[in-house]
C-alpha cells in the first residue's frame, strides 16, 4: 500500500469512526435522558448542517467553484419533502412515518438535483466570480419563486398555483406562499440524520478518490491542463455541482420535516454564507473539518448566548482571517515553520485555498 493510500485510509477511518462514535454516544445519552432538551432539539438540524457543509465542500473544496446558492437547493429539498410527505399522508394515506420520511428525503434530493442540473447547465459555462454571483442569483430566484408558490391537497390529489392563490374548496394547504410550508408533521429522526450523514460521507469520500473525483480536482487545479489531458471540464464540474445539490436537497428535506413550518426566509443568502463559513473554517477539501465545524458552530450559539449575539461578526472575521492566513505566502511560510510538525500529523492532502484550522 502506498503512503498516500494509507494516509487516505486513516483519514477516512477517523471520519467514519468519529461520526459513528458520536451517534452511539448520543443515543446512549438520549436513552439515559442525560441530554438537555435544547441540545436534543438540535440533533437533527446538526445532521442537516453537516450534510450541507460536506456537500458544499465538494463544490468549493474539490471542484474549486464558489457556489453561493447552496441554501436554495436546501429550500427546494425542504419544500419538496414537506409536500411529498403531506401528499403521502393526506392523499395516499401512508401511515408508516419512516417510509414517508425516506421517500420524502429521496424526493427532496431528486428535485434539488433536477434544479441543480437546470441551474448547472448555464452556470457552469461561466468561471470564477461570475459563477459565484450567478449561483447567488439563482438562490435568490428560487427564494422569490417559492414565495409565490401555493400547493395544497384535496381528496383528488395535489393542486398547484403560482402568483395568486386559487385553490379548490376544502383544500388542505401544504405550501402557502410567503407563509411557507405549513402544518408539516415533524417525522424527521436523529437516526435518519445519522444515516444521511453516512450516505453523504460514502458518496463524497468515495467520489473524490475515484477517476471522476480526480478529474473534478484536476479541473480545480488547472482548467486548461485538465482539458488538454482530455478531461471534459463542464462534465465534471456538473457532476460535483449536481451531487452537492442532491445532498443539499436531502438535507433540506430532513431539516424541513423536523419542524412544523418552513418559511422562505430560512433559506436566504445569509444561510448560504453560514454553510460557507462551516466549509472555510473546517478547511477547503477537508471533509472531517466540515463535519466538526458544522457541529461546533451550530451548537455554540445555543450553549453560549454571548456568542449568539456576535455570531455573524465572528463569522465575518473568520472568513477574512482564514483566507489571509492560508493564502498569504509570507504568513504561510511563517505558519509552516511554527506549526509544521503539528500540521504534518493532521494534514489532509487535499486543500485548495488551503483553509485548514486545527
Amino acid at each position: 500500500m502506498t503512503r498516500a493510500k494509507r494516509r487516505r485510509l486513516i483519514y477516512n477511518l477517523i471520519t467514519f469512526g468519529l461520526v459513528i462514535g458520536a451517534f452511539l454516544l448520543l443515543q446512549n445519552m438520549i436513552a439515559a435522558k442525560s441530554i438537555s432538551r435544547s441540545l436534543r432539539g438540535q440533533l437533527v438540524p446538526i445532521c442537516a448542517w453537516i450534510v450541507m457543509a460536506v456537500s458544499l465542500n465538494l463544490v468549493i473544496g474539490f471542484s474549486g467553484e464558489l457556489s453561493l446558492g447552496h441554501a436554495g437547493f436546501m429550500s427546494v429539498g425542504a419544500y419538496t419533502g414537506a409536500v411529498v410527505s403531506g401528499w403521502l399522508m393526506n392523499v395516499c394515506a401512508l401511515e408508516d412515518a419512516t417510509l414517508r420520511l425516506v421517500i420524502s428525503i429521496v424526493a427532496g434530493g431528486l428535485i434539488a438535483g433536477l434544479a441543480g442540473v437546470l441551474i448547472g447547465i448555464p452556470v457552469l459555462r461561466l468561471r470564477g466570480d461570475y459563477l459565484a454571483i450567478v449561483t447567488l442569483a439563482f438562490g435568490e430566484i428560487i427564494r422569490n419563486l417559492v414565495n409565490v408558490l401555493y400547493i395544497g391537497t384535496t381528496d383528488t390529489g395535489l393542486h398547484f398555483a403560482f402568483l395568486n392563490r386559487q385553490m379548490p374548496e376544502g383544500v388542505t394547504m401544504l405550501v402557502d406562499g410567503a407563509k411557507g410550508a405549513v402544518k408539516i408533521k415533524p417525522i424527521a429522526t436523529f437516526t435518519a440524520g445519522f444515516v444521511l450523514i453516512l450516505v453523504t460521507l460514502i458518496v463524497v469520500l468515495n467520489l473524490v478518490n475515484s477517476r471522476a473525483g480526480r478529474a473534478i480536482q484536476a479541473t480545480r487545479d488547472n482548467r486548461i491542463a485538465a482539458e488538454s489531458m482530455g478531461v471534459s471540464v463542464t462534465k465534471y464540474k456538473m457532476m460535483a455541482f449536481v451531487t452537492a445539490a442532491v445532498l443539499a436537497g436531502m438535507a433540506g428535506a430532513l431539516y424541513g420535516l423536523n419542524s412544523s413550518t418552513v418559511v422562505p426566509t430560512q433559506f436566504t443568502f445569509n444561510q448560504s454564507i453560514n454553510v460557507l463559513v462551516f466549509v472555510v473554517l473546517g478547511g477547503l477539501g477537508n471533509v472531517l473539518g466540515s463535519i466538526i465545524s458544522a457541529t461546533f458552530l451550530t451548537v455554540l450559539p445555543e450553549v453560549l448566548r454571548e456568542f449568539a449575539d456576535y455570531r455573524m461578526l465572528v463569522y465575518a472575521v473568520v472568513l477574512i482571517l482564514v483566507m489571509i492566513f492560508t493564502n498569504n505566502p509570507t504568513i504561510r511560510a511563517l505558519a509552516d515553520r511554527l506549526f509544521g510538525p503539528v500540521k504534518a500529523l493532521f494534514r489532509s492532502r487535499k486543500n485548495v485555498a488551503g483553509g485548514e484550522m486545527q
Binding site: L207, S210, R211, S228, G230
Partner: protein, 287 residues
C-alpha cells in the same frame, strides 16, 4: 556543437507534397500533423500567418524563433486552446475544424506548457492518472459504490502510472504533492502526464527551460528514447540550441509569426535569414 543523439543516424529528410520535409522512413504514411496556411488574428494583429508544417509519424521536430515569434500560439492552435482564424490543421489526415481542447486530446495530441501547469494540490501519481483519464476508464457510480471494476481499473491505472513515471525514474516521488516538486521534476512530470494520454503527437513547450546542461543532455536522450519506445512524433519549442540541434530531425524557424526557414539542423544553421533573425545569438547556437 554537442554530439547529436540520433538513434537513427541514417535520417534523411525528404520533401512531401505539401512542400514540407519529413524523415524518409515516414514518407509513405499519412503525416501525423499537417497544417495548411494556418493563421490567427488577435484583434487585427496577425500573431501567426500562413504557417505550413508537416511532421512525419516518428519525427522529432523543433520549432524555434525569437521571443514573441508566435511559437506558443502555434501550440495553442494545434491543441485548440485558440481557434485559428485561417487555414486548417490535420491530425492523421483528419481535419480538426470545430473541435475543442478535449476532442483534440482524444485525437491524439498532448502537450506540456511553457509556464508549468500541473495539478498542484494532487500527488505526482494522481497527475499521471489524470493523463490516463481516457485510457483506463470506469464511471462515477462504479467509483462511489466501489464495484469490482473499480478495484480492477484502479490497479491498472496505478501500474500504468508507475510504468510511465519510470521513464524519468520518478516512482519514488509518486506520493509527493506535484506543486512541491523542484522545477526540473515538474517539467519532467508534465511530459509523463502528457505521455499518459497515449498521444500520436507530443508537443513540448520549452522542456529544457530552467535545466542545467547535464539535465538538458539527459532530457535530450530521454526525448529520443520516448520517440523510439512509443513510436510517436514530437514537436518541441526550445531556446536551448544544443538540444534543438542535437535531437531534432526537422527544424522550423518562426519570426514575427511567419516561417522564415525549414530544414535540417545543418541547413538551418547555414541559413542567412535565420542568422539575421537571431543576430548576436549565433554564438549561443554553436555553444
Amino acid at each position: 556543437m554537442t554530439q547529436r543523439i540520433r538513434h537513427r543516424s541514417d535520417t534523411r529528410m525528404v520533401p512531401v507534397p505539401s512542400h514540407s520535409i519529413v524523415p524518409e522512413r515516414d514518407v509513405d504514411q499519412i503525416p501525423v500533423l499537417e497544417t495548411r496556411h494556418l493563421g490567427i488574428d488577435f484583434g487585427g494583429l496577425k500573431a501567426v500567418d500562413d504557417f505550413n508544417l508537416t511532421i512525419g509519424r516518428t519525427e522529432i521536430a523543433g520549432l524555434i524563433g525569437p521571443n514573441g515569434a508566435g511559437k506558443t500560439t502555434v501550440f495553442n492552435m494545434l491543441t485548440k486552446v485558440y481557434e485559428p482564424t485561417t487555414g486548417a490543421v490535420l491530425i492523421n489526415g483528419q481535419d480538426m475544424k470545430g473541435l475543442n481542447i478535449v476532442q483534440a486530446s482524444r485525437l491524439g495530441i498532448a502537450r506540456t506548457f511553457q509556464n508549468i501547469r500541473l495539478f498542484d494540490k494532487m500527488t505526482v501519481e494522481e497527475n499521471v492518472r489524470i493523463g490516463l483519464h481516457n485510457q483506463i476508464r470506469y464511471d462515477m457510480l462504479t467509483g462511489i459504490l466501489r464495484l469490482p471494476r473499480y478495484w480492477k481499473q484502479e490497479k491498472k491505472q496505478h501500474e500504468r502510472a508507475m510504468e510511465l513515471l519510470d521513464i524519468f525514474h520518478m516512482q519514488d516521488l509518486a506520493d509527493e504533492e506535484a506543486g512541491s516538486l523542484p522545477y526540473g521534476a515538474q517539467r519532467r512530470l508534465e511530459i509523463v502526464r502528457a505521455l499518459a494520454t497515449d498521444p500520436k503527437l507530443l508537443l513540448l513547450d520549452e522542456p529544457a527551460a530552467g535545466m542545467n546542461p547535464r539535465e538538458t543532455e539527459e532530457l535530450m536522450e530521454t526525448i529520443a528514447r520516448i520517440r523510439d519506445r512509443f513510436q510517436i512524433a514530437i514537436l518541441l519549442i526550445e531556446h536551448d540550441m544544443s538540444l534543438v540541434m542535437g535531437v531534432c530531425e526537422g527544424i522550423c524557424v518562426l519570426n514575427f509569426g511567419r516561417i522564415i526557414a525549414k530544414g535540417t539542423a545543418d541547413e538551418i544553421q547555414a541559413n542567412p535569414a535565420v542568422i539575421e533573425a537571431y543576430l548576436g545569438k549565433r554564438k549561443e547556437a554553436d555553444a
